[in-house]
Amino acid sequence: MLDFIARRLVAIIPVLAVVAVLVFLMLRLTPGDPAAVIAGDNATSDQIADIREKLGLNLPIWQQFGIWIGNMLQGNFGESFFFKKTVAELIAQRVEPTLALALCTLIFAVAISVPIGVAAAYKQGSAFDRSVMAFSVLGFSMPTFVIGYCLIYVFAIELGWLPVQGYVRIAVNFGQFFERMILPSITLSVGFIALIARITRASVLEVLNEDYIRTARAKGLSNRVVLMRHALRNAAVPIMTVIGLGIAILIGGAVVTESVYGLPGLGRLTVEAVLSRDFPTIQTVILLFSVVYVVINLLIDISYTLFDPRIRY
């Protein structure tokens, strides 16, 4: 078991290395002097020279990469000239809304989508099944920001049940925090629910065709027991996989959702950084999101061993 975890851990190293190289090269691909790009449009020539010195831009490129990755590993993400802060500070400030949004969405989406996916598979071909499938196509097709504005219009502006936009820190007032999380989480969930419900349905249907399901029925088990005890556990691995891969959609959606609802999170930060061409921040945010994504998928990989005794490779 430990051996398995160790092997999985080692397997993500090349992936992260490629990500690091890509993110590093990003800056080199921009036209112009990297130091000037980093310093931003209003920098003085002294500032630019200072940056050049710090990043070792006069050294060969592989040494530059060494310096850069070394800094990153030490948590020294550089300085944002636009925001006049270190990137680390900037991220620390912005992490809470994104984390809260992602967690609320994840919990809400999984709690809704897995049961409806299973129910749809169980009642394959029924009106319920067809409406789940129809919803899922619709969910894939609705742009997140359109959903967001529709919800704001109906529940915040017309009905006045919930605040329109903004964020309150969880430590300041939980009630206000919570009511400001409801609409963003629902908005971000739609696509996620569509995806997971669809995969859950398909996985359960596939498992229901397996020989051991026939064996279970031949034992005289009721349909409910066959579904819950035999089918669902075997369908768990593909469902978990897609939840993990869906995190990428969640991160992408968070960028848009935070903008719609005015949440001061990492997604908004990314957009602000791109608009102001603040490269140290862009690089760090992308690296951070990628590491989180890879690590979550690693954890999901490891969790397979709980569902399936065969996975011990």
Partner: protein, 542 residues
Amino acid sequence: MADKKPVLEVRNLTVALPSGADRAHAVEKVSFTVSPGEIVCLVGESGSGKSVIAFTVMGLLAKALKPTGGEILLEGENVLTASEQRLRELRCTRMSMIFQEPMTALNPVMTCGEQIDEVLRTHTKLDPGARRTKILGILKRVKLPEPERIYASYPHQLSGGQRQRIMIAMALVLDPVLLIADEPTTALDVTTQAEILKLIAELQTSQGTGVLFITHDFGVVAEIAHKVAVLRWGELVEMGPTEQILSRPQEGYTRMLISSVPSIVPAHRGVRLDKATVLRTEKLGKTYSGKSFFQKARTVKAAVDVDLDIRKGETLGIVGESGSGKSTVARCIARLIDPTEGKVYLGDTEIATISASRLRPHRRKVQIVFQDPYRSMNPRITIGESIIEGPMNFGLKRDEALARARRLMETVRLDPNSLDRYPHQFSGGQRQRICIARALAMEPELLIADEAVSALDVSVQKQVLELLDEIRVRLNLAVLFITHDLRVAAQICDYVAVMSQGRVVEYGAAEQVFGSPKHDYTKALFAAAPGRHWEFGKFAAA
């Protein structure tokens, strides 16, 4: 036996196929009975409806199939009209079923113990301790070693034979009156098959269980059946005691079917003449190594020190169970995979180690026919294109290649005008003939048949075997015949190599190997062949 009340009575059973199928009924007006302590075999080729009957009895029929007539009485109770609830109560208590694929029939994420326990929890009120005792008891009865360990094992930790024993234990733990066995040994190796057949027979004798045994294999029928029902296209052809059906069949179809079963006694072949050697292998070996950064390098020796030779006009058979390395050898010889040790001489040329470009001219000389007739031709191009592809690769003009293809279609007894058809328009047996034609189009010196008849029904198998033999004689071709089926090997091979765990354990003339096997493994293999005491096709005067 006959005076006892039957446990299963099937009367005039008709099962409809969905509209658009090739015929209206999967099963039509079939009647038979199974008495306590009796083993009734339903025999038939593919599409005969034998499995449909089994699933109908259990109430596990696919939704598309509907029983439309007749009745199925289990101890007098009609299961066709029983409620879903009642059917569930009957399953595993009165009637049980075991399936063809033990590898996939058990839930991979539950221990074997849990899976048997589920039966007891569903159908009895026993407390956990009593259940465990009962399960360990039944595991012992199906002769599984270390019942405690097996109880806690997951299916993937057990072999195919062991899994089938788990299935049998699960089926019989509540002493049902009827056991339905749907090709329970077809996916198993011959030695395992013999053990499982013996086990089923023992358990059913001691408990007086009635058994409905579905099979396509007359060897198994001869081994185990008390009564035989022959099915064809969903209809009952003939039924009677085993001895009567096997030696005095009344119907032409039954006679044809039984006489198609190859005899296990090798046909007498002429002595080896001093012909030219076509192929010779020298210490041929193939080792698979899974290199991994963290694990110790795992190596599997699929073939070790294989020395074989085949001469013109001769058939060499390689027989062995699954995993014995027989297919590996064939694929090494055809250079579909690269051998890791040893040499392969094609005539005087060594081909095991030469480069791909130098190999190409020699590719023509070795041709291979595969097992699965449904996957061995590109479904997107016509069979004509498939056949002429090879000759054209070697420079033949299109019209010459087509002329050759037409001749070859006649050779394999297919209509030359059907060259412009696609593979899906042909049956399995026909496709295998087309594959032979494609191989012959290359004018090879060696033809490799890798389980080429194993997927075919016995009557079709017979025709393809006869065709292969005829071609060998006519073209003076060397044939390497890979098979797991001893009967087939006995009929077609001049020489036989028996392989086990990657090694050739016995090698000699077929008559000699079959007549007086020397190696223990060969002896065990022959002893396990089902129905080996029966001479099929020698009918008594009716």
